[in-house]
Symmetry: C2
Subunit: 325 residues, 2 copies
């Protein structure tokens, strides 16, 4: 199946009914201006063996590609609009695998209100490498930045933290002692992020700053702090944990070190955000109405850097978590 | 040099003075609407060993990345605005090479009025793989499509054709018989495309359809024909050739086969476009005022497909030229 047939048979249906895409028959897409809105753009690249496993099913890889990017839009409070796709097919990506990949895109496009605008496909002798550039809408000047945090703001995080870290371990067969159900739940969490698009209203109303948790909670809270010219302090005992993560913690001797691992591990695709202390209760209630738990985990400080504490004692944090690209 | 330092030291200066980029400190860029304009978006990926040579200087690779995408904007009549960068660094991309790469970006940004909005950098165990998504502006609804050609329109091409094909041969040391000057000129043409941004006014005023010549003249004229539901016929003896290409042709026994190779070879980054017969003279004059030669090479037909003739006789065209991704 050559590039021409791939585009014609697998990708053109993903752009059906989308005038911006021009039937994928042009060099470019044309996006009309939406008065009163900014176009929010974000892009992420995934490399086989680095960001997903070679054994992952092609449809899940496609969905992960869209979802890691949707997670960025979610953190910005943006409404999904469409995307461009960059694919470097590796040897072995035959018609069956390509078809499954397109099926995964179709599924999440429909679920998230995304439309395919265009892209580029090439061949590579190296690992399968894919990128997506996502477009979303935010009211003009209202996109939630990383840089809006103020000293004294509370730090909150959605859902549960550490499941991405444990999910990779589970997928590698390193957590079999937790039992099949827990392993399955963690693996699914690693393979298929759940971008928090439903948080948009609560974030737009209450967040002073926001980012998605992709590089690890500490790193991403640190990114907010740095962009705001401030610091962040996180009380690790307050981390919201899933049942499987609670089970894993029960078997760990050094709680501080283990919590630090969960907080620096990455791939959670939750939202970490800040709000003024007197807004936190209303924000948590608004998130709850949208079906998302928000948990207060710390605060914004004037001293630069991101720090973790456990029972009031400072915890050493792995530098790789902080700077992982 | 890790990703954090690379962004901080090499890429942040490329986004200086660009509010859309938020200092490259956020998850996303926010592009304000420009009333009365569509945002034109295009993306291309380059893989080492496939789209450029491993021995190419890093600054030239960076400039080629921007220029192949700028060539798409040029063909659409769009005004360059900014870009996102996706980089998968391969082993060996140390500080010196990364610095040169950023220098190449800086040079062409300044030359073409582009601004860096953001992007993503990762590591790959495979070949160095880079993508750019370029943004440009076109008056609302006025982007020049591939699909606007009409039966009887003339086909025109800018500059000279075949130098990309010969440039790759020259870079591989296969054309040494042509002499050092010709080899240098061809190599430079292959390594550093010259997007025809200065054609914008002539295209906007006169073109019924337009595309850039990246996959080969026959393929790209064929793309216009197909998108327009029509065919294209190109008289190969009318191809505008550079002096080195004319020199190469002089040594070829079978002129038809050699012209077909130049017309299907790709990487010329010229513009192929169509216009009504009674507009062609004015269009050529407008292009000339902008410093670009436009040559009539054929016409749009009702019979589907792209065909080449030489002295009125049909010429067999390599299928790979037609479908090369």
């Amino acid at each position: 199946m050559d590039e021409f047939e791939t585009i014609e048979r697998l990708f053109r249906p993903l752009a059906a009914g989308t005038p911006e895409a021009l039937g994928l028959m042009d060099d470019a897409a044309a996006l009309p201006a939406r008065p009163g809105f900014d176009l929010v753009v974000t892009t992420d690249t995934l490399v086989e063996g680095v960001h997903f496993l070679a054994s992952d099913p092609p449809d899940l890889i496609a969905r992960k590609l869209l979802r890691v990017n949707l997670s960025d839009l979610a953190a910005k409070g943006a409404e999904p609009y469409g995307y461009l796709l960059n694919i470097a097919w590796a040897p072995g990506w035959d018609e069956a695998r390509r078809t499954l990949f397109a099926k995964g895109l179709a599924e999440d496009q429909a679920a998230c209100g995304l439309k395919l605008f265009g892209g580029d496909t090439v061949s590579t002798p190296g690992p399968f490498t894919i990128g997506a550039t996502l477009f979303g809408w935010a009211p003009a000047g209202k996109m939630i930045l990383r840089s809006g945090a103020r000293v004294g703001d509370l730090l909150l995080v959605s859902g549960t933290i550490g499941d991405g870290f444990l999910g990779l371990k589970a997928a590698r067969g390193e957590l079999d002692q937790l039992g099949a159900e827990a392993v399955c739940a963690l693996e699914e969490r690693y393979r298929l992020p759940r971008p928090r698009l439903e948080l948009s209203t609560a974030l737009m109303q209450f967040a002073s700053a926001s980012a998605d948790v992709s590089d690890g909670l500490i790193a991403d809270a640190g990114n907010i702090a740095r962009a705001s010219g401030l610091g962040a302090e996180i009380a690790l005992e307050k981390l919201p944990l899933s049942d499987p993560a609670t089970g894993w913690m029960a078997g760990q001797a050094d709680k501080s070190v283990s919590l630090a691992a969960l907080a620096t591990g990455g791939d959670d695709y939750e939202v970490v955000c800040t709000t003024a202390p007197d807004q936190a209760t209303a924000m948590i209630a608004a998130a709850e109405r949208a079906g998302v738990a928000l948990t207060i985990i710390g605060s914004v400080t004037s001293e630069p850097g991101a720090r973790g504490t456990h029972g009031g004692v400072s915890v050493a944090l792995d530098r790789t978590g902080w700077r992982h690209g």
